[in-house]
């Protein structure tokens, strides 16, 4: 029983960082129908800005995190305003290709400025200190924080999309941009805010990943797993992305521990393939039918 609980706890903690990345991807997909492959690197650059302020300039944690999140919000807005909005006759596919290009540019910028060596990200909590949940089941303090942050972000976003005017406007833009425009919604502004929020959530994920593993490629795995989680959850469902992330994390851990550690890494991608074949709309996804 202890083994079962231990692996379950490991799966949940692994799933939390996937959940944040999944949420960040879903937010943009919900409003624009675009899968943002630059999501990981947007978080990455925010994490490196944080590292630079803490390590190079000696700022305090509070001021650094505040400015890092301001930067993340600005970065998201800038991406949408300066690049995606400028795309001529954009198709969803074209926009996705643009995000892949952005991903490479941001990664190149980080590698150029900070080098390829792994870094030691200062953080108020040690990623390697742990607490004992129950007998012989340990979980690191950073992972507890990650679970808390993922849950809080999910709840806040759920309430935001459900009850705020802006949240409803965002959903309207995704379902029918023309009708939303006719109703007086500034679709451009809504999209810009969406990218800002998504960049903010991505930065949160990156800041929680960086203390244990900081390097230019630290966001690849979480991005892919977050994407798998979002697909599993249905791409348009915030709750679905979180549930999907925890399922991916738990399955991965059970598979790796009890079946085959060699094939642990491919489980997430097998899930994507199976889900797309069996239920393309995901566990909680809803696809709106447009009349033509």
């Amino acid at each position: 029983m202890t083994d079962f609980l231990l692996v379950l706890a490991s799966g949940i903690t692994a799933g939390s960082s996937y959940a944040l990345m999944g949420l960040a991807m879903v937010i943009i997909y919900k409003t624009s129908g675009v899968v943002n492959f630059a999501q990981g690197e947007m978080g990455l650059i925010s994490a490196y800005i944080t590292f630079m302020m803490l390590d190079y300039y000696g700022f305090g944690y509070l001021a650094t995190f505040f400015w890092a999140f301001v930067f993340a919000l600005f970065l998201g807005a800038l991406m949408e305003f300066a690049i995606l909005r400028r795309a001529k006759d954009p198709s969803v596919l074209g926009l996705m290709i643009i995000t892949i290009g952005l991903e490479m540019i941001l990664l190149g910028l980080v590698s150029w400025k900070f080098g390829a060596d792994p870094k030691d990200m200062p953080f108020p909590i040690s990623p390697f200190e742990s607490i004992e949940l129950v007998e012989n089941i340990y979980i690191s303090v950073l992972e507890v924080l990650t679970i808390g942050v993922a849950t809080a972000v999910m709840l806040i976003l759920f309430l935001f999309f459900r009850f705020s005017k802006l949240g409803v406007a965002m959903k309207a833009v995704q379902q029918n941009p023309m009708a939303a425009k006719l109703m007086g919604i500034s679709t451009n502004r809504v999209l810009m805010i969406t990218w800002s929020i998504s960049s903010f959530v991505g930065a949160l994920a990156a800041l929680l990943i960086a203390p244990a593993n900081m390097g230019p490629f630290m966001m690849w795995d979480p991005l892919l797993k977050g994407f798998a989680a979002a697909v599993m959850g249905g791409m348009t469902s915030l709750g679905g992305a979180v549930v999907g992330a925890y399922i991916v994390g738990i399955i991965e851990n059970f598979f790796g521990t009890f079946i085959s550690i060699e094939f642990k890494s491919v489980v997430a991608f097998s899930i994507i393939v199976i889900m797309l074949c069996v239920k393309p709309s995901g566990l909680f996804g809803r696809h709106y039918v447009k009349k033509v």
């Binding site: 692994a14 590698s111 390829a116 792994p118 593993n213 994390g249 851990n253 550690i261």
Partner: protein, 397 residues
Amino acid sequence: MKKLVLNCLFSITLMLGLSFSAYAGDGITDKEIHIGSWGPQTGPAAPWGTISRGSDAYFKMINKKGGINGRQIVFHHFDDGYNPARTKAGVKQLQEGETPMFAFVGGVGTSPGLAVVDYLMDAKVPWIGPATASEHWVNPPKKYLFTNYAPYYKEAMVLTKYAVETMKKKRIAVVYQNDDYGKGGLKGVRMQLEKNGMKPVLELPMEVKDTDMKPYIFKLKKADVDAVVLWISVGQAVRTIGTAKAMQLSPQFFGTSTVSDFPLMFKISKGLWKGVITASFNEPPESTSPLMMEYKEAFKQFASKDERWGTFFIAGFMFAEPLVEALKRIPHDELTRERLVLELEGLKNFQGIGAVTSYKKFDVKDPRSRQGTNAVYLTECLDNGANKKLTDWIELD
């Protein structure tokens, strides 16, 4: 008139002959020797890319001292991102361009190396000091390939022997990268344990991009291991030790020479690297030997200001040392690739900053004709990434 025509023909022939001897299409001119290399300057393996920058500083140092027998070394190195397809394209571009390479030196990574080894050997272009300890280079040996890095399985044998015989460890596990590099380490652990009448209690393959180490630590904990040999990447090694600490597992960790850059490892592991024992293939950065002091001066003069004086930067010097030594022994007018091979074969007990290196006349049945050394020494990480030498150079059969 006939005499004039003959004189003209003779002059043209002489000019052509001279120009061919000055530039015979084999990477040398009267004043230059062109040497090629590759290494990842971008991508997950980029920390090892510092090796080719070390070689660059080494050649600049040599050039500043007047070059080798009247020739300057022109060093061409490119970023392959540890991507074998890019390595192959880059090497072909260098070799089939206007100025082919006289020889290649260093070159990070087993897979990138494997992508070009046949091409270089078919073209009879010498490749000296691959910056990877794969067995492929000498099994079977290749006439134009000389290595001075002990194979991974030998490193693993030395580490395992130390764990069993000196530290009296009884339950040894190995966590290895699921590729040629990692399997070299696995092979060595198995071979040495078999000699000691033991077996690994656990063999755990790890994929390169895996970041969640908990299932590995869970299994190690269940197996009640008292020593773990890690044959994985820098980032994964740090995460493994960190996750072990968080899950209250504290065996003795051992690591390959690829994670022997203690100042870096200590820093990024937030001090957890202290106590880890690794193999090492060259003098530590703190060494004050005259040769290391000379190299440190070259580092100050020629490395970029962001460069760090670390194990892998120094390795760039070490991998190129046999090439430079052999070139020095060849008079200016006698330099050819075949002569280089001959001089390399003549290197006996050569001592640079690595292990003592010797080659022999080419023998397809004798890997030692091209494997210059099998020796490593063991070192332990202390506070702040300082280094404690645990053994002298050890070479196992």
